[in-house]
Amino acid sequence: MQISFDWVDFLIMSPVIALVVAGVVPLLIKVVNGNKESSSFVPYGFGLVGVFAAAALTLGNWGIEKAAFDGAVAFDHLSAIACLLILAATAAGLTFLRENPATHRRQFSETVFLMLNASAGMIIFAWADDLIMTFIGLELMSLCLYVLIALSEEEQFSKEASFKYFILGSFASAVLLYGISFIYGSSGTTSLVELRELGPTLISTNRMFLTGVVLLFSGLLFKIAVFPFHAWTPDVYQGSPTPVTTYMSAGVKVATVFLILRFMSLDTLTSERAFPFVDALQWLAVLTILVGNIGALRQKSMKRMLAYSSVGHSGYVMIGLIAAGIGGQTLVGATGAVYYVFSYTIMTIGAFGFLSLLEKHADHEIYLDDLKGLGRKRPVFAGMMAILLFSFAGLPPTVGFFGKFLVLSAAIKQGLIWLAFWGVVGAAISVYYYLRPIVAMYMEEEVVQNSTETSLRPISQFVVSLAALMVIGFGIASETFFQTFFKSILDLFS
């Protein structure tokens, strides 16, 4: 086989290259300085430069449609959207990292390096057009995350979380790899382009192939915390330093959902043989919604609560993905899934960023009771969180509402009425726990007077405010996003 690369291939990969280069520079500076950490602003600055350069390059590439590097990665509008969302999460994560007491001092250059590489991994993961690339992206992302979680000044929970995520994550990667080997064994290819031709027939004739698909999905569903692969979520989200939680909860979900969407476009699930599998996925979606939302009801720690809620949101994304998988040419489901992760990214950045801002020292974890009286002390700031929580709960006219609206529309359009019904039940349950922080902030009085020192973290505050404004603004202007997403998906599915 003749291997030759076009320069366009490198242009397409340039965002990833920019991220890796920008990540290495602070590390080099540190080495040259005799392993002394310079001011945290230097690595942060390089990190942001990398992120913005990558974003600019992605936007510059907007419109290119090509399977680069011999079909290893696919670049189209959808890839660009995934990349931009991941970069948004990265920029927010970096900002919170620099201004959070648990992460801002220790080995900040390394932290930036790891985060940018994790983003590179996520982007490769989301772009992969070949199952081997999928695995490479997954591992690059996961390995960086394992270390990032542990890189906290908090000594107990972060280490435990890192270890837990490592053990379970490795297992999930192994299952995924196992699935890939089944698919390769039965079809003779790992390229998604070739699987597009082979998949629909293979899935109804070859049991081995179906097994491979099931295993592959198990590995992927672990990453977006779908029941029964969700058990790690609360512990890991709680133990990780809050900026890392922000980053991974948004970034990993975006990357994985886009990959699954790419897989759903293969039309493999429309054949009759795959129906039991689709049924199983529907059950998982329902159970995920219920487990996530019911689990969140009794949480006292805000991070744990949001972790369970993120499990619930995965269930809604699943509804969109399932509708996309069986829908064929009707693209409401795929649009819904993309819009949902888009809205989830904004809300997550805002909500976890808010918690990160409230943390006063490395061991400080925000409980529901800590929010009491905040609405009186800082009404505007608390108002931002209230907007974000209303959006999480799916109240109009926020992005959260339109996300749920699209996903439920997709389910109804595909005749999955009962799936939509359970989605609605989950949403009704979720209202209770999303309202509790608002109750604490605005309607309850402070029990113990907290020390009033509030450290100034201007950039983080800016990011959180921006997220809150976007939640409403992008909600009202959602038509623009629907159109963009819809057109991008049209490319992929046609």
Partner: protein
């Protein structure tokens, strides 16, 4: 532009209230709300009562991918509800004048947001736009009850929010299904209510799992919770009792009407077969609500809670009228919506006035208040008469029409509903007796020498209500003439209801 300005100007007003210096907050809120009310009176000039068509229509594409438009318009059904909302706003600002001292700026901002959401709910002609306003009205009310309410406010506000929100979620599913049906049947995706009217939805009598019946009940659940109908009324007494006075007034006068308005705008005309088929069920529930609400009200020791349960009873009349499907019932139902807004709103205002002075709502501890507060007693008794439908007051017209319609539709149920009128008279008059007459209660002794009567501000609040009570009671035609064309159209053409847009 008129309706758009009417709906969204409260948002601007809220912003102004948010920016003025602290000592200006109350006067600014009052002046702005009066200006807004005066502006809304221009409707009399723009609105043409002789036609049932949808008027002052404004349409613009909002989310064309899903057929969602920005589409507002007004007809005889929504006309008075809009004016009721704007009329109550200055009153709610004035009644909170001294009662709300804590975070008053945020309080008035919430009131303006709520006004905007209610107006949007009554004027939206696109189902999703309606849903957006319908749901966002919950947020300011949630803050009003939760931040300025009584001792059990957290329980009440969460219950209120979760109850109403979970009800409306199933309606959202039904709306989505209807939107996709417009594509199948009419060719274009549309969330406009006018297009929903044109759909033909398969109906199989007696079979619950059929398209029209399921959707009908999805809508009914959402609206029945809001009304509230027996047996999903339990959030109301808690919310009413715990809410601050202004919150109770808006809740009773405006937010409950969103439910009955929803029945008139959505549930009945879109699903006429199902509505007719199940009308008996709803009439029975309405009558149970009337009698049950009255009986429970009778034994309440707290007079705010008593009035809250009387709301359940009164709203039962509205539902009875609507499901009678004749011109008397429907006209009475619409009229009773306004009456309930005026009389129950006034009752809550009166309760708020005395509570501010005595800090007690226990009926037992009052007694002999008439001697101490003669003006207040006169006002209270007039409003009570309106509430129990004494002739010459507005309540009489509404209840009389509803009973007429109820008898025409179903003799036995009509008979039971009359029982409710008697019970209503009993519990209200008994309460008046215990509060205003008889021996001086412990509270009167405790507040000896203090002035318990109304001051000028309170008199000013009450006067418009008293005027309206008699005006609506003596000259109902002044009001009904604006709705007549729409109501006739509604009753006569319910089976293939369509709304034309005024050219």
């Amino acid at each position: 532009m008129f309706l758009t300005v009417l709906i969204f100007s409260p948002l601007v007003l809220a912003l102004i209230v948010g920016l003025v210096p602290k000592s200006w907050v109350r006067p600014t809120a009052l002046v702005l709300s009066l200006i807004h009310f005066a502006f809304s009176l221009l409707l009399f000039k723009h609105f043409d009562p002789s036609t049932a068509h949808l008027q002052l229509v404004e349409r613009a594409a909002w989310i064309p991918t899903l057929g969602i438009q920005y589409f507002v318009g007004i007809d005889g059904i929504s006309f008075w509800l809009v004016l009721l909302s704007t009329f109550l706003m200055p009153a709610t600002v004035l009644i909170s004048w001294t009662a709300i001292t804590d975070r008053s700026r945020f309080f008035y901002i919430n009131l303006f947001l709520l006004l905007s959401a209610s107006l949007g709910t009554f004027l939206a002609m696109d189902a999703i736009l309606f849903y957006v306003f319908f749901e966002s009205s919950l947020i300011p009310m949630y803050f009003l009850i939760g931040a300025w309410g009584g001792p059990r406010r957290l329980y009440a506000t969460l219950k209120f929010f979760i109850y109403t929100m979970s009800g409306s979620l199933l309606m959202l599913l039904a709306i989505i299904a209807l939107i996709f049906m417009t594509q199948q049947q009419l060719g274009t995706l549309s969330a406009s209510i006018l297009d929903f009217y044109k759909l033909s939805l398969p109906f199989v009598g007696g079979q619950f799992i059929s398209t029209q019946t399921l959707m009908f009940f999805a809508f009914c659940l959402a609206f029945a919770i809001k009304v509230p109908m027996f047996p999903v009324h339990t959030w109301l007494p808690d919310a009413h009792t715990e809410a601050p006075t202004a919150g109770s007034v808006v809740l009773a006068a405006v937010m409950l009407k969103m439910g009955t308005y929803g029945f008139m705008r959505f549930a009945l005309p879109i699903f006429p077969e199902a509505a007719h088929y199940y009308s008996c069920l709803f009439m029975v529930l309405a009558v149970i609500g009337i009698i049950y609400g009255a009986l429970v009200a009778m034994v309440q020791p707290d007079f705010k809670r008593l009035v809250a349960y009387s709301s359940v009873s009164h709203m039962g009349y509205v539902m009875l009228g609507l499901f009678a499907f004749n011109i008397y019932g429907t006209t009475g139902g619409l009229y009773q919506m306004l009456n309930h807004g005026i009389s129950t709103g006034a009752l809550f205002i009166l309760i708020g006035m005395i509570y501010e002075k005595t800090h007690s709502r226990e009926i037992k501890s009052y007694g002999g208040l008439a001697k101490r507060a003669p003006l207040y007693a006169i006002g209270f008794i007039i409003v009570t008469f309106s509430s129990i439908a004494v002739p010459l007051t507005n309540g009489f017209v509404g209840e009389f029409l509803i009973l007429l319609g109820g008898f025409q539709a179903h003799k036995i149920l009509g008979g039971f509903a009359v029982l409710g009128v008697i019970l209503g008279a009993i519990y209200m008059l008994w309460m008046v007796l215990r509060i205003f007459f008889g021996e001086e209660g412990p509270l009167m002794v405790k507040h000896k020498g203090e002035n318990l009567d109304m001051n000028l501000r309170e008199i000013l609040i009450l006067i418009p209500f008293v005027v309206l009570i008699f005006w609506m009671g003596i000259f109902p035609n002044h009001f009904l003439s604006y709705s007549k064309a729409s109501l006739d159209h509604f009753v006569n053409d319910i089976n293939n209801y369509e709304l034309q847009i005024e050219p």
